[in-house]
Amino acid sequence: MPIEIEHVTYDYMPGTPSQVRALDDVCMTIRDGEFLGLIGPTGSGKSTLIQHLNGLLVPTSGRVLIDGLDTRAKGTDLRKLRQKVGLVFQYPEEQVFEETVFEDIAFGPKNLGVLGEEIEARVREAIALVGLPESLLQRSPFELSGGQLRRVALAGVLAMRPEVLVLDEPTAGLDPLGKREILGHIRRLHERGLTVVMVSHNMEDVAKLADRLVVLDHGRIVLDGTPREVFSHGELLESIGLDIPDVTKMMKELRKRGWPVRTDVLTLEEAYEEISGYLAGTKVGGPR
């Protein structure tokens, strides 16, 4: 189920003095099964863009086609679109409101008209997908830890069985363990065949997970390609207030100091291989 974004422009408060252009002629296609990382400085339009992916916002001009359906067209069933494209906002734990974890995860499927046992099955499936024990289901969500609550919120969207999962900064405000866990679950969901779109400020995370990166700045797409391609434009990224992964930076520094190593390295493992490969070729540890 591809999502096509065609020349999308979006203005906040059009026709008033405080009109702001949040997206400016954005074109891209989200393909089935890909893991798309969306990066850009604060205010670049990332959040606005992802709200177009399930029809929460509709373009001021241009159009968004989800599985061929225009989000702006009158006959489009937006609820159906929102089922297919699950959107997890930043700090999703703030949207939790039911008395028990079970009820809260069941909120989405219930809104879709799912009934009885099917709801129970979906809730159990969803909580397993985020790696939480079923014993939590009867607890009050307000007793859980921050990391657990975020996973409950994620389960609430997964229970709708979306085909595309869109996440806005899923790791914001979590401790390293919580971060690792949630990223692990997202990776596994992608491996199960879900298309994932993830907004992030963390270059290491997207470098590790995404197979395609789109960089936004001032509402425009400035780069679109594999992480390797995108992170080869270090200076451009820095000029718009972004960065490249630390390992990539280190390799560049080594090269500057005369080591003939590759600089398009994205993960620690790759860097290890590259450096140890080089060291094996020289007798001394380093040039001269």
Binding site: R79, N111, V157
Partner: protein, 274 residues
């Protein structure tokens, strides 16, 4: 959706009225309201209307902005007019079946209506020309004499300031939560009243939770900066009365004398009423 709601209605231009001391403006508005209710005939209103018009002209706030402030009250105005028109006994104007409209009802309805319009326009001028911060500062001082009677004047003003500050924040938050729930298939737009009210739970519960959390954090942040109530607290912007303020107060007092004179001279617009 929620964005675009106007919070407060301060109209930022430079004018004599804008630069007046908020305390003087609150005082003038209060006296104005009192004499507006003392006026008992249209001559009184003519004098007060003139006073209000001059104030608007001095404030440099465009007329359409001032007139717009009456619009939310339009329903109440029409309702009042209708009530008076049909329920006041007197010489019959029109009779439609069991419903009768009377002449005295029409006059009285118009009379009350005029009073309301002048009231709304003049008090709006206060909020149009005074920023919310100035307004609460002024209010704090105006209420100070009542602190001996146990009115917590500083706390009231602080509460108002905080409330004003957090209205946009809460609106933004409400919009965010609404969208998050809509992404989970929630529906806030359709259904009858009862259904819609029930559908608000997914919005209101998280909103309250976060409002309480925010209040907690704010209290902590204020304490961390040694806030301990109004006692001994100084102000960054000291309020000072200038000539324009004294002139304004003098003028409104003058207007009240005129109104009292007109009240005695012409008497009530309808016999038997005050």
């Amino acid at each position: 959706m929620i964005r675009g709601v106007i919070i407060g209605q301060y109209y930022p231009v430079r004018s004599t009225v804008h630069s007046m001391d908020p305390r003087a403006k609150i005082l003038i508005a209060t006296i104005f309201m009192v004499i507006l209710f003392m006026g008992n005939n249209f001559y009184c209103f003519l004098a007060m209307g003139l006073f209000a018009v001059i104030a608007v002209l001095l404030s440099k706030v465009p007329w359409h902005v001032v007139v717009r402030t009456v619009r939310p009250m339009l329903f109440i105005l029409i309702f009042t007019l209708a009530l008076h028109l049909f329920l006041t006994p007197g010489p019959v104007l029109v009779r439609v079946g069991p419903i009768t409209a009377t002449w005295s009802g029409l006059v009285q309805g118009l009379f009350i209506g005029t009073r309301l319009v002048i009231l709304i326009m003049f008090t709006s001028l206060l909020t149009l020309t005074t920023s919310p911060v100035e307004l609460t500062d002024g209010l704090e001082d105006v209420l100070r004499p009542f602190s001996r009677l146990g009115v917590p004047h500083h706390e009231l003003a602080m509460m108002m300031t905080i409330a004003l500050r957090f209205i946009p924040t809460l609106l933004e938050e409400a919009e965010r939560i609404m969208k998050a729930q809509m992404a989970r298939g929630a529906d806030f737009q359709s259904g009858n009243m009862l259904r819609r009210a029930r559908n608000l739970a997914p919005l209101l519960v998280p909103l309250f939770v976060s409002a309480f959390r925010r209040a907690d954090e704010l209290a902590l942040a204020m304490e961390a900066r040694c806030y301990r109530g109004g006692e001994g607290r100084t102000r960054m912007k000291k309020l000072e009365m200038h000539r324009a303020d004294y002139v304004g107060i003098l003028l409104v007092l003058l207007a009240s004398i005129v109104v009292v004179y007109l009240r005695i001279k012409f008497g009530p617009v309808i016999q038997g009423t005050v």
